[in-house]
Each structure stands twice: as structure tokens, then as C-alpha cells.
């Protein structure tokens, strides 16, 4: 996929860029951060392995129809609230999350509800929080960030109701 390649180029280009800046600060700075980054990588790999390899099993036992069923058509604020819970509970990666959103749209789900679902998934999908955010960030920050983000899928749904369909 060319988009993935583009992102890889940007990613490694950025690494190269900041690496050069670090190198110009002097060899010790460069070597220290290189070692730090590599150690972070080594420490994180087991958890990433567990998450990525395990997520297929979790996704396989939560059938997508269950979550799609939660995104009822034009169900008002109760539907928005359900969509938020569904977004947080969706297992798997972006393919699963967006596919459920697309299915819900096609099968007559309300647009504000689908927006709430996609935003909630982006903010709280439990698998991303547990597998990526908590290993890399201080846990106190992660819980705080999640708690503070709770109103925003509802705000997004409200904006979607105000400005109408795409």
C-alpha cells in the first residue's frame, strides 16, 4: 500500500532528522539517546508481541455484528451513549473499528451515532489504551487523559447533529 510506504518514509525521515540534530550536539548525546531508544524498544517488544499476536483471537470471539447492532439507526442520545461504549469496547485495530463504522453507516446507523462511535474508538479503544498507551506513558497520565476525554465523543455527535450530514 502506497500510503503505508509514504508514512514509513516520513517516519524514518523524522528519525533521521532528529538523529542528525542529536549527532551534531556531540557523539555522547547521540550514543546515549540511541541506547535509550533501543532499550525502550527491547522493553516494549514483549508487550507489543502479546498485543498484536493476541488481538486476532480477541477480535475473533467478539463478533462484529454484536457491536454493529449497538449502533441503532437514529437512536438519539441513548444511541450516542451506546456508540461511545461500543467504540471503547471494539477489539482489534483500525480495520475492525472503521469497518464496523462503515457497516453501521450502510445499514442505516445515524450519522451522529457513527461519528460518536469513530471518535470514541479513536479516543478509548481498550486494546490501544492497554497495549500501546499504558506501556509507553505513565499510567496516571493515561487514566487522566481517558477521564478528561469522556465528554468529547458527545461533543462531536452534537456538532454532527448541528451541521448535518457530510
Amino acid at each position: 500500500m502506497s500510503a503505508a510506504l509514504l508514512i514509513d518514509i516520513l517516519l524514518w525521515g523524522s528519525v533521521l532528522g532528529v538523529g542528525m540534530i542529536a549527532f551534531r550536539r556531540g557523539r555522547p548525546v547521540f550514543v546515549a539517546s540511541l541506547r535509550e531508544g533501543t532499550m525502550d524498544f527491547v522493553n516494549i517488544v514483549p508487550r507489543i508481541a502479546l498485543g498484536v499476536i493476541g488481538s486476532g483471537y480477541i477480535a475473533a470471539i467478539i463478533p462484529q455484528e454484536v457491536i454493529t447492532g449497538w449502533l441503532g439507526p437514529d437512536s438519539g442520545w441513548l444511541g450516542v451513549a451506546t456508540a461511545v461504549v461500543a467504540g471503547a469496547a471494539t477489539p482489534g485495530g483500525p480495520v475492525v473499528g472503521f469497518s464496523i463504522g462503515a457497516v453501521a453507516l450502510k445499514s442505516g446507523g445515524g450519522v451522529p451515532q457513527v461519528v460518536a462511535y469513530v471518535v470514541a474508538w479513536a479516543l478509548f479503544a481498550f486494546q490501544r489504551v492497554i497495549l500501546w498507551e499504558i506501556p509507553f506513558m505513565p499510567a496516571r497520565f493515561v487514566w487522566f487523559r481517558c477521564a478528561v476525554s469522556v465528554p468529547f465523543p458527545f461533543v462531536a455527535a452534537a456538532i454532527a447533529m448541528l451541521i448535518g450530514k457530510p
Binding site: A22, A32, S33, S55, V95, L105, P138, R145, S149
Partner: protein
């Protein structure tokens, strides 16, 4: 968890071997254990439903996914380490710290929006920002901006699956959210953590 204080900034670019605060990690935490249990139960259920073939199918698919992700995880870790090394601490705590105001939230939002890569970049970099003096508010703005208006996931997944119209429209709706989330974060954080002695009369 030690918060870098704005009154006592660590020496900037020429600090050589000062250990970064806030980056100590336990090798195995409770979240790893929960996930491991969840995976084990799910794999057992898949085995009961689809037999050994079903289990192996998912395993091969996820192993190839994993090997594709690994180099990006390394890139993310290096990016985080370099950024926390080269960013001058005083400057970060001035422009992203607790007193950075709306500007700090906007900088955090812009940073999250342009950051390349996926969770393997966003979280190491956000953690590095916290370590060099950004406050919770600006870091929340950055993380929320990355997840809601960052182009990486939108280009790679959302546009192909949800369509361009929905994606752009959803991003426009999300534009104000990172700054609002960061502002709310700052508002709550100050009341929760900074003044433990000032107001204690809530019932």
C-alpha cells in the same frame, strides 16, 4: 512519578547523561497480565470453535502483522529518545508547560497533527514531551490531536474504509476537540493536584 518543575529546569541541550524522569517501566504490569489472560481465554474459545487450524490461521496472520510493525516500533522508540534528548527543557516547559496558555495547547495540537506514524510513534513522543517539561494539558492536546486529526491513520485506514467525504467531515468536526480536551485537562489537573491544601470543604 517526578514532574519536572518549571522553577527548577534541568540543564538543556548540553546535558549529557542525565537520566530522564518519568520513564521508568516495570517489565510486566497488571495490564500485561490482564491482556495475557484475555488472549489465553480468547484463543481457547477460538480453538473450541474452529479447532487447531483456526488457531494457527490467526497466529500466522498476526505474526506477519507483528513482523511488519516491529521496525516502526523501533522507529517510534528512537524518535522519542532523540526528541527528549534534543529538546531544550526550559523552552519546552515555557511553550508546553502549565503556564503556556492557549498557545501551548495549540502547539500540542499542531504537533500531534503533523506527527508521522501510529501509536508506536505518538506515545513514545508524548512520553518524551512529559519528561522534558510539557504539562498534562498540552500532552493531552497532542495525544487527542494525533488520534483525531492526525493524517496517518486517516490516510492509511479511514479514507479507504469509510470514504473520503465521511473522513474529512469527521476531521472537521474533530478540529476543536484537542484544544478543548487539553483545556479541560489543565482545568481539572490544577484543581486535583496543584492545590491540595487550598480547598478541602467539598462534601
Amino acid at each position: 512519578m517526578s514532574e519536572p518543575s518549571p522553577n527548577n529546569p534541568a540543564p538543556g541541550g548540553d546535558a549529557e547523561s542525565e537520566p530522564r524522569p518519568g520513564r521508568v517501566r516495570k517489565p510486566i504490569g497488571w495490564s500485561t497480565i490482564i491482556i495475557a489472560a484475555l488472549v489465553a481465554v480468547s484463543a481457547a474459545l477460538v480453538w473450541r470453535r474452529d479447532g487447531t487450524d483456526g488457531v494457527l490461521d490467526i497466529l500466522t496472520h498476526d505474526l506477519s502483522l507483528f513482523s511488519g510493525i516491529l521496525p516502526r516500533v523501533l522507529a517510534g522508540c528512537l524518535l522519542g529518545a532523540f526528541i527528549s534528548e534534543i529538546l531544550p527543557h526550559e523552552k519546552v516547559s515555557r511553550s508546553l508547560g502549565p503556564k503556556s496558555g492557549l498557545m501551548g495547547l495549540l502547539i500540542g495540537t499542531a504537533f500531534g497533527a503533523i506527527l508521522p506514524g501510529g501509536p508506536f510513534t505518538a506515545y513514545p513522543v508524548a512520553s518524551a514531551l512529559l519528561a522534558v517539561g510539557a504539562d498534562f494539558g498540552a500532552t493531552i492536546a497532542m495525544v487527542v490531536s494525533w488520534t483525531l486529526i492526525g493524517y496517518g491513520r486517516a490516510v492509511a485506514w479511514e479514507i479507504p474504509i469509510m470514504g473520503t467525504d465521511f473522513t474529512l467531515w469527521r476531521i472537521v468536526i474533530s478540529l476543536p476537540l484537542p484544544v478543548l480536551a487539553g483545556a479541560l485537562g489543565r482545568f481539572v489537573y490544577v484543581r486535583l493536584y496543584s492545590k491540595p491544601l487550598a480547598k478541602d470543604d467539598e462534601s
